[in-house]
């Protein structure tokens, strides 16, 4: 089972590099995504057994994030077909300077996309910290070509920054691995998995453990996009094709988050929950503050979404730091991923319609492209935590956790930052949505490509449903996952 989960995307990815004609390759992409989704769905029946001597195992937490990744990838795959049909071979106009450029070969794109899925699955599946590291580093490497799909300077620059910064960060996480090993040196034959370590948490060397955690925090935090380590994130998200941005923001960040949670579980077991909790909350609020500062007055709507991702990673960290609110944080991870992916896919449609990312040149979306405009407005409301959408519930839940831990001041700060982000995004999004269409949108093509309209629409529907009714299984899964990840 687990091998299938890994193998399907890997093999399909490898094959995609070789298939020449477009049609079959796109079909392969869809088939692989669907297969992966079905396999993941099967895991909800019952968790598959461990593989590779416990290095790979799907626990409740892994299943949650794997399913998230799988769903988003399915949506992205469908969207990608429409995207490739329109953007596949034609030369495109660069929106800032307006010169022509062509795109990376579709085979490379598709292949890397599938490998991306594979590596993300790997990091969701691996229990062994070393393997986890391998998986996460691999996600960086296979997603770099995706960011560089548009063969032009800005995306190239973004790719380079993404590569170097994330590699450096993750290298530090590797050092963290070794520190962890040192901390566990009393048990030379201990398997370096979260469960084993947690089981023997008492015998771990506290100092080394703390140091290891700090390294993990900085390393995976870089990948997760916690301020001030987030610097690569806005560039990569804004320059990558929207479908890739959706996956980066919706799935990749979660992988890093999961890794951090696994480390956190060990420390919690070792009784260092307050140590990690404080750090998580600090980084969370800092990220929210930085994101708010950059969202206010933002001029590029994809960068705005990217910073909003930073903000929500902050929310997740804050929630985890509260300890008792870990289930809320996990639920928020689900909500954020769905909403943000929906927003990025919509942003892709807007980009196709307006041919610019600059907020100043876009007016009257609701009139020019009603469908996408509506989704855009709705997504904004959802991501800023307005009812009746999913994020509201999870953010409220986190707030409740904060108050129940008597962190009144922090809760107030958390709300204040959420409010600031709302004001910032409202100013931008409302300007874009209302009024008469601007020049750029006068000649907007009709919204007629179902491949590119349905995925965001369905995601939006899911977000709305999650705001009014959280299915029992999901709720249980979230709670189980929180237990697996050592929430108190």
């Amino acid at each position: 089972m687990i091998w299938a989960l890994l193998g399907v995307p890997m093999v399909a990815g490898a094959a995609a590099f070789l298939i020449r004609p477009d049609g079959p390759r796109r079909l392969l992409l869809l088939a692989a995504a669907l297969a992966h989704a079905l396999l993941t769905a099967a895991c909800w029946g019952g968790l598959p057994g461990p593989a590779l001597g416990g290095y790979l195992e799907l626990d409740a937490a892994g299943r949650l994030f794997l399913s998230l990744t799988s769903v988003l990838f399915l949506a992205a795959a469908v969207y990608a077909v429409g995207f490739l049909k329109s953007a596949g071979h034609t030369k495109e106009e660069e929106d800032a300077e307006g010169f022509l450029f062509d795109n990376a070969p579709e085979a490379v794109f598709t292949g890397c996309l599938l490998l991306f899925l594979g590596t993300m699955s790997l990091s969701a599946l691996s229990q062994h910290f070393g393997l986890l590291w391998v998986g996460i580093e691999a996600t960086t490497l296979v997603s770099a070509p995706l960011i560089h799909f548009h063969r032009q300077r800005r995306s190239l620059e973004a790719t380079w920054k993404y590569l170097l910064i994330c590699s450096v960060g993750i290298a530090l996480a590797l050092l963290g691995n070794f520190f962890l090993a040192v901390a566990a040196r009393l048990h030379p034959d201990l398997l370096m998995t979260g469960r084993e370590l947690a089981a023997h948490a008492a015998e771990l060397d506290v100092t080394w453990l703390k140091a290891a955690f700090l390294l993990f925090l900085v390393g995976y935090g870089t990948k997760m996009g916690l301020a001030p380590l987030h610097t690569w994130l806005p560039d990569a998200h804004s320059e990558a094709p929207s479908v890739v941005s959706a996956l980066l923001s919706g799935a990749l960040l979660n992988c890093a988050f999961l890794a951090l949670m696994r480390v956190n579980a060990v420390l919690c077991a070792a009784g260092l929950a307050d140590f990690t909790g404080g750090l998580f909350m600090g980084f969370g609020l800092l990220s929210m503050a930085v994101a708010a500062a950059f969202i206010i007055g933002q001029t590029d709507f994809k960068r705005m979404l990217a910073y909003s991702s930073v903000e929500h990673m902050g929310v997740l960290a804050f929630g985890v730091g509260l300890g008792s609110a870990a289930p809320a944080a996990l639920l928020h991870a689900v909500n954020h991923s769905l909403t943000k992916a929906m927003l990025f896919l919509t942003a892709g449609n807007l980009l196709a319609a307006a041919r610019t990312k600059s907020v100043g040149e876009i007016r009257g979306l609701l009139r020019a492209v009603p469908f996408s405009g509506f989704l855009w407005l709705m997504g904004f409301l959802a991501i800023t935590g307005s009812p009746p959408f999913g994020p509201f519930i999870s953010e409220l839940w986190i707030l409740q956790g904060a108050l129940s831990r008597h962190h009144g001041a922090l809760a107030a700060l958390y709300l204040a930052l959420l409010g600031a982000v709302f004001v910032g995004m409202a100013t931008i999004v409302l300007k874009m949505s209302h009024g008469e269409p601007s020049e750029r949108l006068k000649a907007a093509p009709a919204e007629d490509d179902p491949w590119r309209l349905w995925p965001p629409a369905l995601l939006a529907a899911a977000v709305l449903v999650l705001g009014l009714w959280v299915p029992r299984p999901l709720l249980n899964a979230v709670k189980e996952a929180a237990v697996v990840l050592g929430a108190r």
Binding site: W160, K161, L164, I165, V168, G169, L172, T207, K210, A211, L214, L215, L217, V218, T222, P228, L229, T231, P234, F275, L279, V290, A292, A293, F294, I296, G297, P327, L331, L366, S386, P387, P388, F392, I393, L396, W397, L399, Q400, S404, A412, L415, A416, L418, G419, A420, F422, V423, A426, L430, H434, G435, E436, G467, L468, W469, V470, P471, R472, L475
Partner: protein, 658 residues
């Protein structure tokens, strides 16, 4: 309870149907208004039943959210708010069917009707919800629905601006409510609003402050009112009527609900509300006096009336805190009744203003005039509303203000002279200024000669609009004459607020209402005298020749419309008196030379708080944000340095000590 759910369902259903009807204006209006009417009729029944003293079983449904529960209950307080909400929504819907017609060719009406019905449904849920989360969801849906109604004509820049202000203000207000409710939930152990938690004095005060700010933003207390004069004029008039008449009252409802939950109030809460009320009332009417946009003027009057309600609440709480049950009852009773009254006459006035806009095509008073001849229905209804909002007998406005006055006088004679004096002075000043304001509004818009082409070609509105206005006008007169009847039904909520034992409360309440019966008698006498005087005049004039002529211009034989007093000049003495605060901007072109050319005088009064408080704050925030931009400078080396430094700091900070 089931019928309330059914009502909400009908509303939403009607809205959805209207949305589906989409571009077909007739069907959209049919479904939208039909849903509203049906829902209102179904929903009002249980509310009236509760007020009549037949309690309804609370409802608690399974609900698939990690926090909160779907629980509704209809106690007298809720019921007292349900009635005006549904009633006004129904009338506004009827009105809207005709009012929206002119827009049909330009934009689909489906969305407008959908959000209108959604607004009604969410308001209904807000006042019956008994769970924090449910309340908050309904609260925000209400805000969003009304936001989309406000931005109905979003091709206008001013409307977009108003929409932004509204959305931001209401959301920031909600932030305080989130804290408030989660605080209650923590103390009470559940998000249920029925299980009243016992708060420590300090927490209770914190909670009260949060509620005052959060709900006050929706209600429009100064200085949280800035969104109100922007949003209400921007919306279609029947929506303005609903927003101003009942939506902002949900803020009052929330405040009252909070008061019932927070236990016995300390004295300073009462002072707080009295202060807020006095400031909101007086400044609100002053701002109104300085406006020349009819709907904007009305919007500011909502601020004023909210202030009056706050005064009532405040004096009531003072009474409760000092153990003067009579003062408490009268104050709370007055506040409650004023909620209903304001829904009646402010709804009426906004509908009237809408009819003016519909008939004359402008809201600028300086271009209106003489409409009473062309729009007798609208004019008469507007006159009734104007007299009512000034608190003149025999209309409803007087009854509620009388109760608050009486509470204040009782406070004075029972030893709370200071609080009573503040309330009396504020109410008296508000009354006088309101009279000035509405003689201006009515006089300039409906009397004299038309000041512009559009006004000269104005036409009266159709049956639907007339009907809804007439009903509201009749309501004003009815409450004015039979105030005690209405109030005898509101003993439940008053008892809840005054914290008096429900068992034998009613008849002491009846006793407290005795003066009101005399007021009704007085009103009747007044009406009789009016008839008598009319008869006398008719008798005097019978058989005499009645001539028609020009208005006496003190010898000037050719008066023209341009010689009339304008709105600006009418208000100038008073605005001038308060110019130190209002900061009215004057634009005058003085006549010059021996043969003076055209001269002109115009004024505009922007909101002082908006200009002086919020604009600088937001601009400052933006500046600060922009100043932080250098963090993201694009130099990869420094980005890596960030990582290294973060690691270093963490290692030193968290491990250096150990």
């Amino acid at each position: 309870m089931g019928s309330l759910l059914l009502a909400a369902g009908l509303l939403v259903l009607g809205g959805a149907a209207a949305l589906a009807a989409g571009r077909n204006a007739r069907w959209a209006s049919f479904f939208g208004a039909g849903g509203a009417l049906l829902g209102a009729c179904v929903g009002i029944i249980p509310a009236v039943a509760v007020l009549a003293g037949r309690p309804v079983q609370p409802l608690r449904l399974a609900w698939g959210l990690p926090i909160g529960a779907f629980s509704l209950a209809l106690d007298p307080l809720s019921a007292f708010f349900v009635v005006p909400i549904l009633g006004l929504c129904a009338l506004a819907a009827v009105y809207g069917t005709e009012y929206l017609k002119p827009y049909a060719p330009r934009r689909p009406l489906g969305a407008c009707w959908f959000f209108f019905d959604l607004l009604a449904a969410s308001m209904l849920i807000v006042v019956v919800a008994r769970d924090s989360v449910l309340f908050l969801i309904a609260w925000e849906v209400m805000a969003l629905a009304s936001y989309f109604l406000v931005t109905f004509e979003d091709e206008k820049e001013s409307v977009r601006q108003a929409g932004w202000t509204y959305l931001v203000a209401t959301h920031l207000g909600t932030v305080f409510l989130l804290l408030f409710f989660m605080l209650l939930a923590r103390e009470g152990g559940s998000t249920s609003l029925s299980a009243v938690p016992v708060l420590s004095a300090r927490l209770a005060s914190v909670a009260f402050a949060l509620a005052l700010i959060g709900f006050g933003t929706k209600a429009g207390f100064i200085p949280m009112h800035v969104w109100l004069p922007e949003a209400h004029p921007a919306a279609p008039s029947h929506v303005s009527a609903v927003m101003s008449g009942v939506m902002i009252k949900t803020g009052i409802y929330g405040l009252m609900r909070a008061l019932t939950m927070l236990g016995a109030p300390p004295v300073w809460w009462g002072w707080c509300l009295v202060g807020v009320g006095a400031v909101s009332g007086i400044l609100g009417v002053l701002f109104a006096l300085a406006q020349h946009d009819l709907k904007r003027l009305l919007a500011y009057h909502s601020v004023e009336n909210i202030g009056i309600i706050a005064l009532g609440l405040g004096v009531g709480m003072l009474g409760r805190a000092h153990g003067l049950p009579l003062v408490a009852m009268l104050g709370f009773g007055g506040a409650l009744l004023h909620v209903l009254n304001h829904a009646l006459f402010k709804g009426l006035l906004f509908l009237g203003a809408g009819s003016v806009l519909h008939g004359a095509g402008t809201r600028d008073m300086e271009h209106l005039g003489g409409l009473l001849k062309r729009m007798p229905w609208t004019g008469t209804c507007f006159l009734i509303g104007a007299a009512a909002i000034c608190g003149l007998p025999p209309l409803n406005g007087f009854v509620s203000e009388f109760l608050i006055y009486l509470a204040a006088f009782c406070a004075v004679v029972q030893g709370q002279a200071f609080g009573g004096a503040i309330v009396i002075a504020a109410l008296a000043l508000i009354g006088g200024l309101a009279l000035a304001c509405f003689t201006k509004a009515f006089g300039v818009v409906f009397l004299g000669e038309p000041r512009g082409e559009k006004a000269a070609q104005a036409h009266e509105c159709g049956v639907a609009m007339r009907l809804s206005m007439a009903v509201l006008a009749a309501g004003c007169l009815f409450v004015g004459l039979f105030g005690p009847l209405v109030l005898s039904w509101s003993d439940g909520p008053v008892g809840q607020l005054a914290g008096l034992p429900p068992a034998d409360f009613p008849d002491s309440w009846q006793t407290a209402l005795m003066p009101l019966c005399s007021v009704s008698a007085g009103a009747a006498v007044l009406l009789g005298l009016l008839l008598l005087a009319a008869a006398l005049r008719a008798w005097l004039q019978r058989g005499r020749e009645i001539g028609r002529g020009l208005t006496w211009g003190c010898g000037y034989a050719a008066p023209s419309a341009r010689m009339q007093y304008t709105a600006s000049s009418f208000a100038q003495p008073i605005t001038g008196l308060f110019s130190f605060f209002l900061r009215t901007r004057e634009r005058a072109v003085d006549p010059e030379g021996y043969f003076p050319g055209p001269a002109s005088y115009a004024t505009e009064t922007p909101d002082v708080f908006r200009e002086g408080l919020y604009r600088p704050a937001f601009e400052g925030a933006l500046k600060t944000a922009l100043r932080l931009r250098w963090l993201q400078h694009g130099r990869i080396q420094l980005y890596v340095l960030y990582i290294a430094l973060t690691l270093l700091v963490l290692l030193v900070w968290r491990l250096g000590c150990s």
